[in-house]
């Protein structure tokens, strides 16, 4: 008996040692500085206790409010759009059409493509005298300054979907393929319609996967900063000024207290969002059982 427990202890030690690089890396580059930042966030830069003063200052800051609202707005618009769009495409591909494998492979291509390498294309596409406006003028629609007006928000939404839809399509296809064929056969015996099969089998069966797809879509929505930065620089139009721009620009002035308070708030916000999604997922699973 005793040998078994020492063996277990040795196993645990080996496991710990193998995981050590991760533990050290995470502690060094995130956990320890993050905890120090939390501690420091309750003090003024002079060193006197400030309570929640730094937090109140940030939350009242107009630029922070704008950036936070834009980030949330972007998420609320993009995530449902991309989930719906990629689900439709995945359902198409799932029907085992000619070339389904080819399409699946091509759809992830934008993910691989460096945005910087094709940014010129998007510049020319959306410029004032660009391709989109020329097309619009055929329908006598007046030219829009896509990159320097509030329309830039939609440009960014388009780029986000262009880049990330392949990722979601693959996840949806994996979810669809995990559904047992027996369910469909049972329905076919009942001579149910395609819509009925979709509503009563397909959608309920992929609900557990939806959780992760939502999470990854939210995660990827933060990465849209890359496109926004490459297309419009540090100070884009106010409609796409995101929290990421805010942090970046505060890095330029090295206002570290403001930086750490802002990131603590963002961390908490995302943490809560993940918790809510997780709770929703558990509820959906209970409901299905």
């Amino acid at each position: 008996m005793r040998t078994k427990s020492t063996l277990g202890k040795r196993e645990a030690l080996s496991g710990f040692l193998f995981t050590l690089p991760t533990i050290v890396g995470t502690c060094l580059f995130f956990l320890i500085p993050f905890i120090i930042n939390i501690f420091k966030s309750f003090f003024t830069s002079g060193g006197s206790f400030a309570g929640l003063g730094n937090y109140i200052e940030i939350i009242r800051n107009k630029v922070f409010q704008l950036a936070a609202w834009n980030t949330i707005k972007f998420m609320l618009v993009c995530v449902p759009l991309i989930v719906a769009f990629s689900l439709i495409i995945a359902l198409f591909l799932y029907k085992k059409l000619a070339g389904a494998h080819f399409f699946r492979t091509v759809f992830v291509f934008p993910l691989v493509l460096p945005v910087a390498s094709v940014i010129l294309f998007f510049n020319i596409l959306f410029a004032e005298g660009g391709i989109v406006n020329s097309l619009l003028s055929c329908f006598r629609i007046p030219a829009v300054d896509w990159l320097n007006s509030s329309a830039s928000f939609f440009v960014l939404v388009f780029l986000y979907i262009w880049k990330n839809c392949g990722y979601n399509i693959i996840l949806f296809l994996a979810a669809l393929n995990s559904i047992s064929k027996e369910y469909y056969e049972a329905l076919r015996l009942d001579s149910a319609s395609t819509w009925k099969a979709l509503w009563h089998v397909t959608l309920p069966m992929i609900t557990p996967h939806l959780f992760f797809i939502f999470v990854i879509s939210v995660t990827n929505s933060f990465k849209a900063f890359r496109e926004a930065y490459i297309l419009c620089g540090n100070y884009p139009n106010r409609d796409i000024y995101m929290l990421q721009h805010y942090i970046n620009n505060n890095f330029q002035t090295l206002n570290y207290t403001r930086l750490s308070v802002a990131t603590i708030l963002i961390f908490l916000l995302i943490f809560m969002l993940i918790l809510v999604l997780f709770k929703l997922k558990n509820k959906a699973e209970e409901h299905n059982l």
Partner: protein
């Protein structure tokens, strides 16, 4: 019966055409860049003069250039080596991060996937949460550490945190957990140590998974924007992914060529590892 089939074919044609249109929209930017990289400076001026001068002159885009030349390529490859140097330093940066990440993730992934020890689940949850955070949130924590190490302004400020990125650890933990425990038990009975098991069993059994880590991580770092613009001080150090946005308007002809050059490494990896890429996306998920 016949009517039903006819209707089915009609629907299929509509679906196929939707898919084909989507593919064209997704791939057109690359085609556009490649075509334009063969334009001479004269044709660039006549096509995109409006963009260059910042006025709202219409652009004229031709699918087939009136006069295809290799002028741009000649200049980038022979006359102005600065662009090629950038290319190689970008490649050095991405390859270093990928190598570091593969090493860290394989070792830690083995620990997290195949052992039980206290706090293991908490560590794994933290990895997942970090994976979802915007890069900027992580950078604010990394900055003081890198600064006290004296690394701000050097490529190591990008490589070191990059090697420990949460995504790789998460992916390899998932990949390794698919290796059946029976094989490991058998190897242990034969007297294999943990490192032997990792090198001789875990890694060879998961080569597709590792390939998927290589391509996903390479792409992410080849495209990196967030870290260089904060952690590097001089704009001449910027990797191609950031640098390209600054040459866009001055030298449009060179920008097209550099754009194509930037696509090439990602394209090669994609062509060889596209199945691994898809597998990686499927593996890096949880229910």
């Amino acid at each position: 019966m016949k009517v039903g089939r006819k209707k089915g074919i009609g629907v299929n044609i509509i679906i196929e055409s939707v898919l084909v249109i989507t593919v064209i929209v997704l791939l057109f930017p690359v085609l556009f860049m490649v075509i334009n990289s063969f334009l001479g400076s004269k044709e660039i001026l006549s096509s995109y003069g409006g963009i260059l001068s910042g006025s709202n002159l219409q652009v004229h885009f031709h699918l087939i250039p009136e006069e295809a030349t290799l002028e741009g390529y000649g200049e980038v490859f022979l006359m102005t080596p600065a662009y090629l140097i950038k290319f190689w330093s970008s490649l050095f940066l991405s390859v270093s991060i990928v190598l570091g990440q593969v090493m860290v993730s394989c070792i830690s992934g083995y620990g997290l996937a195949k052992f039980h020890f206290p706090m293991k689940n908490e560590i794994f949850y933290l990895v997942i949460i970090l994976m979802m955070m915007p890069t900027q949130v992580l950078m604010v924590s990394q900055y003081p550490v890198l600064s006290s190490m004296g690394l701000i302004g050097s490529y190591f400020a990008l490589i070191l945190p990059g090697a420990f990125a949460a995504f790789g650890i998460f992916l390899m933990t998932q990949v390794f957990s698919y290796v059946p425990n029976e094989i490991l038990e058998a190897a242990k009975i034969d007297g294999a140590g943990h490192f032997q098991i990792l090198l001789r069993i875990m890694i060879p059994c998961s080569n597709m998974g590792i390939a998927s880590l290589v391509i996903l991580s390479f792409i992410d770092n080849w495209n990196m924007v967030e870290q260089p613009i904060v952690f590097l001080k001089e704009s001449y150090q910027y990797p191609l992914s950031v640098f390209l946005s600054s040459i866009n308007t001055n030298r449009l002809d060179l920008a097209f060529v550099c754009g194509v050059l930037t696509i090439v490494p990602a394209m090669i990896l994609y062509l060889f590892l596209k199945d691994a890429l898809i597998l990686g996306i499927e593996n890096a998920s949880f229910k």
